[in-house]
């Protein structure tokens, strides 16, 4: 913009809109996308926005430095950080790759001593870091760790010991060293502020009496998710102390003594009439399930992904859950179970079906295309699906998206790589073509099965709102990836493994990568020279190659490309080459 014109506009903006008013308005803005837009309007809006921002979300911890963040946003109370590329969840990123929270904590201690919340995903966190955090930020209230690694229960003990105002401790799906359950006993006896406690994925026993006392002291407890060592007999003793619970994750739901504590359990559940989310239920049986029926009327999210239910058991349960919007199940429920979903849950928006025996091809259990079709007929509002299966047809997917055109997230995993339509033996191109053509709101797509470049031509052409694309064992040539990079105007994350895409494909995206958060390519045909060329042409991208032991010198085994204002990583381990 012309500088003179800019000055004029700024003067106009300032004189017609006093700063105090602007700040009052901006404080209401929560969405980081809105705040980004606001900050681009003019200098005074940029300043007003940055002073009023209290929460910052950093989607790639290497895209920016702690210094830059603290300089721009002086008043932050809450930070969300994501670290490693998503494929690290599936062991595709070697250990000690990076994303250590340490350097951020040092900055927080200096610049954000009043920090209240920290949410981390795929970061490396050590026990020392947790203790440092607890001691540096006396007002610390909420810690959420998802898919992180590097710490043990000692770190949790430090948090419990030192954070006097803790309201949230959410430890989900991390690769932690679970030494013992004694961390829970570190909460002081007068500590009572907890509102969220999730230790469902920890495996050691906690002291039950300590837990019982903790729950009874914390009168505002809304979310409680215990691990599977908490028995069905112990559960009522917790529930009676927490009538305000909205989310419950049970421990083991196995009845040791038939008909014994059933009534106590039923009474406890009867008191919990505010529950909208239920999970856990490991080892649940047909005998213990009915205890849940009274609470199910208001359930909106039921997570049965740790409960190996059969189809009949699920059907009986779902009759009581008419308000369900989100359902996660294991494929033990089979197609019949999914038919029951279609019949009983008209409001369903999200379905995830996880595999029980993902590596065992001999078992013919699980779900097929019929189950998915049945759900699509009954649940027309379906917008999010994650579906693991062993067989699928193009016709099935075409029917499904016809029934449910509002998909925003479509993640289909046909578990055998390169598997064609099992009825026609054709590639699954038609299926995904139907998805992108029909579901105009599609934001996230994961493809699988035997796919040619045609699928990617369609994706590039029709997926106008697509932001995240995951591709594995698919495509025929560079052309496929070129189509995606040439289309998909809103693409932000592209992750590819084991596809025949090479340098030509990689380099066709030069214009695109700066508007994307990141690109991951592993097991493809990209070479070091191709990556060097990319790095040379696009100096503001970080082009990193992870070298795998024993591989060819010229091959770029795993490539991770992302935009960054922080420059190349200074903490890269020896196997990460920054080009």
């Amino acid at each position: 913009m012309d500088p003179e014109r800019k000055k004029v506009l700024e003067r106009v903006a300032v004189s017609t809109f006093p700063d105090e008013v602007l700040e009052r308005v901006l404080v209401q803005l929560k969405s980081h996308k809105d705040r980004s837009s606001v900050s681009l309007v003019c200098h005074s809006w940029y300043d007003a926005e940055r002073f009023s921002r209290t929460h910052v979300f950093i989607a790639n911890c290497y895209s920016v430095t702690p210094e830059i963040v603290s300089r721009r946003f002086p008043n932050i109370r809450s930070v969300s950080l994501k670290g490693k590329p998503r494929f690290s969840d599936f062991n595709l990123v070697p250990p000690k790759w990076g994303a250590d929270i340490r350097s951020w904590l040092v900055m927080f201690a200096a610049k954000y001593p009043f920090l209240e919340e920290l949410r981390l995903k795929r970061m490396t966190v050590t026990d020392e870091s947790l203790e440092f955090l607890a001691l540096s930020c006396p007002n610390f209230k909420g810690l959420s760790l998802l898919s992180c690694d590097g710490f043990s229960t000692d770190g949790l003990a430090a948090i419990a010991t030192h954070c006097k105002n803790l309201t949230e401790l959410d430890i989900q799906e991390n690769d932690l060293n679970d030494k013992s359950g004694s961390w829970l006993s570190c909460f002081p006896e007068n500590f009572s502020s907890l509102e969220v406690l999730n230790f469902a994925n920890l495996s050691n026993d906690v002291n039950f009496e300590a837990l019982e006392r903790l729950v009874s002291r914390c009168k505002s407890l809304k979310v409680l998710k215990v691990n599977r060592n908490i028995t069905l007999e112990q559960l009522p003793r917790l529930l009676i102390h927490a009538p305000l619970l909205t989310e419950l994750g049970t421990g083991s739901f196995l009845q040791e003594h038939p008909a014994c504590q059933y009534s106590e359990l039923e009474n406890a559940f009867n008191k919990c009439m505010n529950l909208n989310t239920l999970s856990g239920l490991s080892e649940v049986t047909a005998l213990s399930l009915p205890a849940l029926y009274p609470t199910c009327a208001n359930l909106t999210f039921l997570n049965l992904s740790c409960a190996a239910l059969q189809s009949g058991e699920l059907a009986k349960l779902l009759v009581h859950c008419p308000c369900l919007r989100r359902l996660w199940v294991l494929d033990t429920v089979e197609d019949k179970g999914l038919e029951a979903v279609g019949s009983n849950c008209p409001l369903l928006e999200e379905l995830r079906v996880f595999p029980t025996d993902p590596f065992d091809e001999d078992t013919f259990h699980g779900v097929t295309e019929s189950g998915f079709i049945a759900v699509s007929y009954g649940c027309r509002r379906l917008s999010y699906v994650l579906y693991f299966c062993r067989q699928m047809t193009n016709a099935a997917v075409e029917t499904i998206v016809q029934n449910c055109p509002d998909f925003t997230h479509f993640r289909l995993c046909i578990m055998n790589p390169w598997q064609p339509d099992y009825q026609t033996n054709e590639p699954m191109d038609k299926a995904f073509c139907a998805v992108v053509k029909t579901c105009t709101r599609l934001q996230r797509l994961a493809v699988s099965g035997l796919l040619t470049d045609l699928t990617f031509e369609y994706i590039g052409k029709y997926a106008k709102n697509l932001e995240t694309l995951s591709v594995a064992f698919a495509g025929s040539s560079d052309w496929g990836m070129q189509c995606v990079l040439g289309g998909c105007p809103k693409l932000r994350k592209l992750e590819i493994r084991d596809c025949p895409f090479g340098n030509a494909a990689l380099l066709s995206g030069l214009d695109k990568y700066e508007s994307m958060r990141s690109l991951w390519m592993s097991g493809c045909k990209v070479t070091m020279n191709g990556c060097r060329l990319l790095a040379k042409e696009m100096p503001r991208l970080n082009v990193e190659v992870i070298k795998v032991d024993g591989s060819n010198e010229s091959q770029a085994d795993k490539v991770y490309v992302y935009r960054s204002v922080a420059g190349p990583r200074r903490d890269a381990p020896p196997f990460v080459l920054t080009l």
Binding site: F87, D89, F90, N91, L92, P94, S147, E173, N174, D175, N201, E256, H257, T285, A286, L287, S305, C306, A308, Q310, E313, F354, P355, T356, D357, P358, F359, E361, F388, C413, M415, N416, P417, W418, Q419, P420, N425, S470, A472, F473, S476, S477, R497, D498, C499, P500, G502, S522, G523, C524, K525, V548, D549, G550, S551, N552, Q555, A556, D557, K558
Partner: protein
Amino acid sequence: MEKSVNYGDHDDLNLEATELRLGLPGISSSSDIGYEKQSSSASTVVVVRNNKRASPEGIMTQESSTKSNSSVSDARNVGPDSHHQPLAKAQVVGWPPIRSFRRNSFQQKKTDQGDGAGMYVKVSMDGAPYLRKVDLKVYKSYPELLTALENMFKFTIGEYSEREGYNGSEYAPTYEDKDGDWMLVGDVPWDMFIFSCKRLRIMKGSEARGLGCL
């Protein structure tokens, strides 16, 4: 973590091992349990040929991935041709894409509950302070199992008859089956029993006699 062995040089390829055949596995001259590590540029594919699976259409092998580093013109070389079957028993790193905590929890469940190949089930006895566990696979028949239970809990079970259940004692052995129902031990053939039994309970007193009178 993952191991990656690169067969970039064609001379190193054991071409016979990757040859497509129309015979039963195990007949060929290659090793009985063919265990080959081959790699595309980064991910490791471990192909284990399983003798148990007689596949008339032929064995799918991972020949395509070994070629993936070489020819660029053969664009479809990653992936099977139409007459190949999908990978037989291949395990690819990080595939299917499920997080490790989920994978681990199922391996644990399988060892806990058993799946027909050596299975420990819990045994509870009314009035006993704690439960025990027995491995059903160790026993070949009902009498063997019942004798073991009698020894374990120091009691006697009566004589089984289809008509009257267990007569002659105040105990009756029952089990919970896959549908969650409590059944009397002994009604179904032994092999069917061990597959459907999830846990055992030795009922005592009037409850037990009630079953006997059915």
